[in-house]
Symmetry: C2
Subunit: 281 residues, 2 copies
């Protein structure tokens, strides 16, 4: 792992953050993560880096934390330049509001690069999932920017707790559902479903669902190939009737849901291959 601080590759076991950093004490910051692949040429390339930087700029704007795009790009390029481990890795970067007792200091930026974990790679061939109520209606975030819907903050304690709940239930992941009965997203993945030749994902307006870079990359390429793509809300009770569903993220890519709440879901490998190709385009 490489930890970056102020443009220098640091020892990952050396402390880099002060105890009053608001990213730690208040979860007051945002982050991004994407896959890194080191090819035969030894060069590390990050998937959809521009799109991730653009999303972080939006997250930072919502949090009212300054975002210095050229500085971030330079830092990320330096981290990628220092990463040589063959195969797949993850680059993740956090921006926090900075130090509480030094409010005039710049915000804190951290970049880490580490190998892709084996469990995530295994899940690309399929995941089991359970629906889990998130305690909000599907329009909870409309006109309520203080709820930070769609903002990728580091305040992920609930997302992590949902992951533990998945393990307790013996499934790979959970799918959050609204109090009014719609499927939303997973704690760290977006939902795509297919009905015939049409691809759909959860709409963002009012739902608080994160705008997934992976889903958008797939939809952009699919649409260019003439596929009907769209943003909707699907009632949970209708999910067992779709032709296929995936949980997608920068690490999992397109992981078909093989089983939802104990019931098998249809899985068509031709469509899995199409999604993978669209993601890579």
């Amino acid at each position: 792992m490489a930890v970056m601080g102020e443009g220098v590759v640091a020892d990952p076991h050396a402390p880099v953050l002060c105890g009053d950093d608001l990213g730690l004490t208040r979860g007051d910051g945002c982050f991004e993560a994407t896959r890194v692949v080191v090819g035969d040429d030894g060069v590390a390339r990050a998937d959809h880096l521009d799109a991730h930087l653009a999303r972080m700029a939006r997250s930072a704007a919502e949090l009212e934390i300054p975002f210095d795009e050229p500085a971030w790009r330079e830092l990320l390029e330096a981290a990628l330049g220092a990463w040589r481990r063959p195969g797949e890795g993850v680059i993740r970067w956090e921006l926090t509001r900075g130090r509480e007792i030094a409010p005039n200091d710049p915000p804190t930026g951290i970049v880490t690069v580490f190998p892709m974990d084996a469990a995530t790679m295994r899940q690309r061939t399929g995941v089991t999932a359970a629906t889990l109520p998130i305690g909000r209606p599907s329009d909870a975030f409309a006109d309520a920017p203080w709820l930070l819907g769609g903002v990728k903050t580091v305040s992920y304690a609930m997302n992590m707790a949902a992951g533990r709940e998945a393990r307790r239930r013996g499934v790979d992941d959970v799918l959050f559902t609204s109090t009014d009965g719609f499927a939303l997203e997973a704690p760290r993945s977006a939902l795509i479903w297919r009905v015939g030749d049409r691809l759909r994902t959860t709409r963002h307006d009012g739902t608080g669902v994160l705008r997934s870079i992976t889903q958008a990359a797939i939809f952009d390429a699919a649409e260019a190939d003439g596929v009907d793509v769209g943003y909707e809300l699907i009632p949970v009770v209708e999910l067992p009737g779709v032709d296929q569903a995936w949980l997608v993220s920068s690490g999992r890519l397109g992981a078909p849901i093989l089983e939802l709440d104990g019931r098998p879901m249809p899985n068509d490998d031709a469509w899995n291959e199409r999604l993978a190709a669209w993601f890579e385009r």
Copy 2:
């Protein structure tokens, strides 16, 4: 400020946390904070320390993070022993799941002590507040432990955003309201209201409201004095009709709400003094 790491008082400007600490990258940890008063004898005393330690033990249990109570007590006593600044301060301590790439390392513990900020002290004489929808029904947390209702996690990005929304609206604080129309709590304070001689606060079951140490201390002492205290839900529309309401926290103590959504609220100083005395008992 004193930052504690591994039992030693550290330079507050020296980094103490690694870049992969899950408290930073996922807001995956919990915290407590309480007032510290250094008296004429130069000794720092923390308010209701046992109750705060007990609540942190519950938070840690919900998060499934080991909590070593004697070690924490020792660390807090050491921090208090090193704090000599006369007057009021705040002691705050965070427990995180620890490092991502060193999962066998112990969890991370940080203690900071700093002077009480002047704005908080001024608010003890009264605050203005605006109601703010939190996008959940009042029973959202019933049978949903993964939502971490009542767990004092460091994932406070939304609480901080609500504070910025208060400043945008020109008020001192916001009061969260449920989608079914009840008043819940403030981002960092509990709500107490008075009707005649009866004191009430928001009930905890299902609401996700944090169990406030300050409110509990006041209610315990008030009840010992024969005052009728209880846990209820109050419709927001009924709040303007109560005889008095307060936002209470370890820093603000009992701050009367002087104005709610632009409308003046009744404020009886005799009751403010009673609350202050009950808190100190």
